[in-house]
């Protein structure tokens, strides 16, 4: 049994301008201690997918309308509030994009980590605080005793993100969901945080789902990649396979638009066109207006997700 099994997940947004299928039939699974990346442009549904895993999507307007999410064999979609609270932060933890604002400014870092420990474990105040110091040490913060007594505004961005990670991992979750954990940080700090996540995954055996639009980040940290486009899963592949032999035209476009050091061209390559507006999706394959390989069938029917070998699944008529 996998740690996490997502099957044909559908999240709809009920907006004033009509129905938006933010996540449309996405399936993937994750084994314990493995890591998975979800990539795509802004608005492709990757954050919605991640939030849905912990039932954190804002309802209304968003709602899980179909599919199932099984965590450790238990159906997350059917859980009641009490069970959800016991799951969140304890077995599945989340770290957000901006470490500047995910810490409460009026409490010290140590207090906040200790509080999240006490939420799920019946530790005393002192034991929880010691645990907080221990976690800060684990995430590589020098002088953790002192940092535990500091307020968030007294720490740098990198230190804060480390503290946020310490808080997320304080209850030994089986799964860590990281939504763009390095986007708000300096490049040098980004590398340190990624290195930290990799070390924690290896040392603690925590499963990681990493959400990002940065393919460089993906290559470094994850075992498998899910590529999303306009709410659809378009390609799911082992990370080496994805970089070596991308199958879906969208994935190829994404990889081509990553600038490299030995690049001959002077202009940055992009994918032509833009993501269609969420309430006016084209018929058939959602990528068809931007696709170079477009065929008649692409404008009529949605392509099925097919196994194309090498552990890769892709949804494209050119491959079917």
């Amino acid at each position: 049994m996998s740690l996490l099994e997502v099957d044909r997940l559908q999240v709809h947004l009920f907006t004033n301008r009509g129905l938006v299928r933010a996540v449309d039939g996405v399936s993937f699974s994750l084994e314990a201690g493995r890591s998975l990346g979800i990539v795509g442009e802004s608005g492709c549904g990757k954050t919605m997918t991640a939030l849905a895993l912990m039932r954190l999507i804002p309802t209304p307007p968003a709602q899980i309308v179909g599919g199932s999410i099984r965590f450790d064999g238990e159906d997350v979609v059917a859980m009641d509030d009490a069970r959800l609270r016991a799951l969140r932060g304890n077995q599945i933890a989340m770290i957000y994009q901006d470490p500047m604002t995910t810490l409460n400014p009026v409490f010290t870092v140590g207090e906040q980590i200790a509080e999240s420990v006490r939420l799920h474990r019946h530790d005393g105040r002192h034991a929880a605080f010691l645990r907080a110091v221990e976690m800060l040490k684990l995430v590589g913060i020098p002088d953790p005793d002192r940092v535990a007594r500091a307020y968030p505004h007294q720490l740098s961005g990198g230190m804060r993100q480390r503290a946020v990670i310490a808080m997320a991992l304080a209850c030994d979750p089986k799964l860590l969901i990281a939504d763009e954990p390095t986007t708000a940080l300096d490049v040098t700090i980004q590398a340190q945080i990624l290195e930290l996540l990799r070390r924690l995954r290896d040392d603690l055996g925590t499963g990681i789902i990493l959400i990002t639009h940065d393919l460089g980040v993906i290559a470094d940290l994850v075992d498998e990649v899910v590529v999303m486009y306009a709410g659809k899963l378009v390609e799911h592949a082992p990370v080496r396979q994805l970089f070596a032999a991308p199958q879906h035209p969208y994935t190829r476009g994404l990889l081509r638009s990553v600038p490299s050091l030995d690049m001959r061209e002077h202009r940055l390559r992009t994918i032509d066109g833009t993501v269609p507006p969420a309430h006016a999706m084209p018929e058939g394959c959602r990528f068809n207006p931007r696709c170079a390989l477009v065929m008649d069938v692409c404008r009529e029917k949605e392509p099925p997700l097919v196994d194309v070998g090498g552990g890769t699944r892709a949804a494209c008529w050119a491959l079917a």
Binding site: L84, G89, N104
Partner: protein
């Protein structure tokens, strides 16, 4: 890391601030003094504030009666001291009671939004649409005049202000990522309000509370003046002015000193409120 500034403790920060702001220090000292005197007044009054003596009625200030005597020959100084007990305790109890309900109502409205918000907001708008004195008079008249009625009347009059304040502050906080993060950490709604919302809106609330204590003291005086607060012979600053009004030309002292006491108390709490606001306002931080 060695570059983390050592935070001075809250207490010493407050003391430093007070040392630099003489006016604030005066206001704070005055508030403490007024409350202290009101607390110990039964043991320090020179005369029984209720003892009547027609032989000494309507006297001006003298060695024996520092603030003179009223129409019944009662010692005005003693009555001002004892009257402060009623005026200040209503002035403090009413806003605190109001805050207790109003802050929660506002947080619930601001946090949940939608229908909950609309119901709570409309109710508080309804209360807000009456001038607070009129509302106080209506409630005090309906429930019958007494100390408790005055507290309830003033608390109801202040309720919508606390609702508005905490509602709007909560709406801003609700969108803070640390609130989302703590939902993701498995915290329940009540616990989030208590842990994350309340401490973050405490600053403006404390400021409002101290300013509205001054408002409540004025309201209490007005209610007592209209005969709807503490009932004679129990003195309060408001009903002393009322009693003094009957012979303002012949014996102005009871009304004058009671009025001065009200002015002093309102001034003191306003000074503290303004100072707290400046202290907690990051934009005025120098």
């Amino acid at each position: 890391m060695s570059d983390i500034a050592v935070t001075p403790s809250r207490q010493s920060a407050v003391l430093t601030y007070l040392a630099a702001n003489k006016l604030t220090a005066m206001g704070a000292a005055l508030c403490c003094l007024l409350i202290f005197v009101a607390l110990i007044s039964p043991w320090i009054v020179p005369h029984d504030p209720l003892e009547q003596s027609f032989a000494t009625a309507n006297e001006g200030p003298s060695d024996l009666h520092w603030f003179g005597t009223d129409a019944f020959g009662r010692d005005v100084f003693s009555r001002v001291l004892i009257g402060g007990r009623i005026s200040l305790s209503i002035g403090i109890c009413a806003p605190v009671l109001s805050a207790l309900f109003g802050v929660w109502a506002g947080m619930i409205a601001g946090y949940f939004g939608g229908w909950t918000d609309r119901m709570i907001s409309r109710f508080s708008d309804l209360l807000m649409s009456f001038p607070s004195l009129l509302l106080g008079v209506m409630i005090a008249a309906a429930l019958g005049p007494s100390f408790q009625t005055a507290v309830i009347a003033i608390a109801v009059a202040l309720f919508p202000r606390f609702v508005r304040l905490s509602r709007s502050a909560t709406q801003v906080l609700r969108r803070e990522p640390f609130v989302d993060a703590s939902i993701a950490a498995g915290r329940g709604t009540f616990s989030i309000m208590l842990r994350h919302v309340l401490p973050n809106i405490a600053g403006p609330l404390v400021v409002a509370l101290s300013l509205w204590v001054a408002t409540a003291i004025r309201l209490e005086a007005a209610l007592s003046f209209l005969g709807l607060g503490a009932q004679p012979p129990t003195p309060s600053w408001g009903n002393m002015i009322r009693d003094g009004m009957s012979d303002l030309v012949g014996d102005p002292w009871p009304a004058a000193f009671a009025g001065a006491a009200i002015t002093l108390a309102v001034l003191a709490f306003n000074m503290v409120g303004d100072a707290l606001r400046d202290m907690l306002d990051p934009e005025l931080d120098s």
